[in-house]
């Protein structure tokens, strides 16, 4: 299967070039983009099945053996995240096509969307620290352009801070790379895992902290999250939805990957648990204070990141498995919620809670889409969020981390509260005047995302077993190292 890894990265890039050549011819552009994104999703799914069955798959770029060449690697963890991400990329692409021409989503959209896809797959599949930097940049540069597509004053203002923060984070990433290379003399993650185990613990801790800060900015961890709620809500709905679902989660993915692989430890990390608790609390308090559907949901992204970091902070197999499960659930639900928010905005011409109301009577189907997703985000049974949160709480209690468990449960209640705020102001209440009406395809796509989220809840058993297997691999860096470096 190793031939598939480079294809998953290069196919979207070739597709991006192709869409540029096709120019303004919309129909062939759509066909090309749909084919490539659905092909990537299918490939990821096949990869996941293969990896779960046979163990990690690696590919050496240019035929240079590791650790000299650039390694691409898919283990269970990356294959799971890759599959969910590409499925969401496909769903949002269909949604965006339904909005084409309306929400300023025009022909060039496909090109940037495909480079974004390539950036995401490269960041998830790479086994090389510098290549990870490149993957991040490909993803981020695409996101800059997608954020500023309409170049209105508001968009420019919010994107400016987003670009500046990310450029600064990239510079810090380069400094981290320089430190790492200076200490270890290698960039290959597997080789790093071997060499870093021999260096001075003080140097290791410095690197570990630097990486948490660098990827914490991308993942919107407390206290580095302030750029997120400012920049996401201004973009067109499909763009916000895919950013909300994927970008920060790629950051979380990399934090989990680097911390478990390069700095293995058996004790729960007090620092990470504190950061997790603070991220949850600040995010949800921010959400409660907002008066706009998309802004509320944006603050919830921050809050939810805390749960994933909580799973990492517990640093046990079951804790990591809960984090993997949480990422899977969250990517789907968050994307779905933003798609619903897009439908609401299309109905009322804006998502401010003062201009919405009474949608339950006019479009009951939208309410039916929103309710399960919102309850799932808050962690109410029987939805997918409940399964993931239950796993986290159980493991937290088993390890005697009562404080973080209490915080996570309190934050769940507050999450539910802010969801009722959206529900009360948008779906209940007196009917407000609504200008546009959302198309059928948009609602249908959102329905598919909802179905996926329900599927996560229904197949909770096999899925948590899969994430337990993925977490066992994460907990034992030797699996990853052996896959890349062979038996050495």
């Amino acid at each position: 299967m190793s031939w598939l890894l480079p294809i998953l990265v290069s196919a979207p890039l070739v597709g991006a070039a192709l869409t540029l050549v096709l120019g303004r011819r919309l129909v062939p552009q759509r066909i090309a983009t749909l084919t490539i994104v659905s092909g990537t999703a299918t490939g990821s799914l096949a990869l996941l099945l293969h990896v779960d069955d046979q163990g990690p798959v690696t590919a050496q770029m240019g035929g240079w053996p590791a650790p000299l060449g650039i390694t691409l690697i898919a283990d269970r963890f990356s294959a799971i995240v890759l599959t969910v991400s590409t499925l969401m990329l496909l769903a949002v692409l269909v949604y965006a096509m339904a909005q084409l021409g309306r929400d300023a989503v025009d022909w060039w959209f496909h090109t940037k969307y495909l480079t974004l896809t390539a950036g995401v797959t490269l960041s998830l599949l790479t086994g090389d620290l510098f290549n990870l930097f490149v993957g991040f940049e490909v993803m981020l540069v695409s996101s800059y352009v997608l954020l500023t597509v309409r170049s209105t004053e508001r968009e420019i203002r919010s994107t400016m801070s987003y670009v500046v923060i990310n450029l600064l984070a990239s510079a810090l990433f380069l400094v981290t790379i320089a430190f790492t290379y200076g200490i270890s003399g290698t960039m290959n993650l597997a080789d790093l895992a071997v060499r870093l185990s021999e260096v001075d613990p003080a140097a290791r801790d410095t690197l570990s902290m630097l990486m948490i800060v660098v990827f914490g900015i991308k993942a919107a961890l407390f206290p580095l999250f302030m750029w997120l709620p400012d920049s996401y809500p201004t973009a067109p709905t499909p763009v916000t939805a895919i950013f909300a679902g994927l970008l920060t989660k790629v950051g979380v993915f990399v934090i989990i990957r680097t911390q478990t692989l390069l700095f293995p430890s058996d004790e729960p990390s007090t620092l990470l648990l504190f950061v997790a608790g603070a991220t949850m609390t600040v995010g949800v308090l921010g959400a409660i204070a907002q008066n706009d559907v998309k802004r509320i949901l944006s603050f919830h992204i921050v809050s939810q990141i805390g749960y994933m970091i909580m799973g990492l902070g517990l640093l046990s197999v079951a804790g990591l498995a809960a984090a993997v499960l949480y990422i899977t659930h969250h990517i789907i639900v968050k994307t779905g919620l933003f798609l619903v928010a897009g439908v609401v905005e299309a109905e009322y011409g804006g998502g401010g809670l003062d201009r919405t109301g009474g949608l339950l009577h006019r479009r009951p189907v939208v309410a039916a889409l929103f309710l399960p997703l919102a309850l799932s985000l808050a962690g109410i049974p029987p939805f997918s969020g409940f399964v993931a949160k239950l796993a986290l709480v159980q493991e937290g209690l088993a390890l005697g981390q009562g404080a973080i468990v209490a915080v996570s449960l309190a934050v769940s209640v507050l999450t539910l509260f802010s969801m009722t705020k959206i529900w009360g102001a948008t779906f209940w209440g007196e009917e407000k005047e609504s200008s546009g009406s959302a198309g059928r395809l948009e609602i249908a796509t959102t329905g598919v995302v909802l179905a996926l989220s329900l599927a996560v809840a229904v197949s909770a058993g096999p899925l948590s077993e899969l994430s337990l297997r993925a977490a066992a691999d994460l907990k034992d860096p030797a699996v990853y190292v052996a896959a890349v470096l062979g038996g050495r």
């Binding site: 940049e137 800059y144 400016m160 510079a171 320089a178 290379y181």
Partner: protein, 121 residues
């Protein structure tokens, strides 16, 4: 030699941070440029050894050449930073055309809270 480079890196980072804290967009972008240069120079410092140009041909002893990897990484990083800086400049120009000023505005939320405080004091 390495100490001089290290000093240069710290000056670049210091000046970059100072410029980053200014209100004018142009200064912020120049500051980011300086910080990126500092980071790139820092990568060069991480080379394991210096020596002849890393071009392998007849008669060149592989042990005598410089470490090529940091150079390759810096080259990539420079290209990426260049692209993003160009994009930022375009963004700054657009912002100037729209608002007629080069200043970074106050945060909306901050302004609202400040107003709230004035009204209720």
């Amino acid at each position: 030699m390495s100490l001089v480079t290290l000093l240069l890196v710290s000056i670049l980072f210091g000046a970059g941070t100072f410029l980053l804290l200014q209100r004018s967009l142009a200064k912020i972008i120049i500051g980011l440029g300086l910080i990126s240069h500092g980071a790139n120079l820092f990568i060069m410092l991480s080379s394991t050894r210096s020596g002849a140009p890393p071009v392998l041909s007849d008669g060149v002893d592989p042990a005598s050449v410089a470490d090529p990897l940091p150079q390759a990484m810096v080259l990539t990083a420079i290209v990426i930073t260049f692209g993003v800086t160009a994009f930022l400049l375009a963004l700054a120009l657009r912002s100037y055309l729209l608002t007629g000023s080069d200043e970074v505005e106050d945060d909306l939320e901050d302004r609202r809270i400040a107003q709230h405080a004035v009204e209720h004091s």
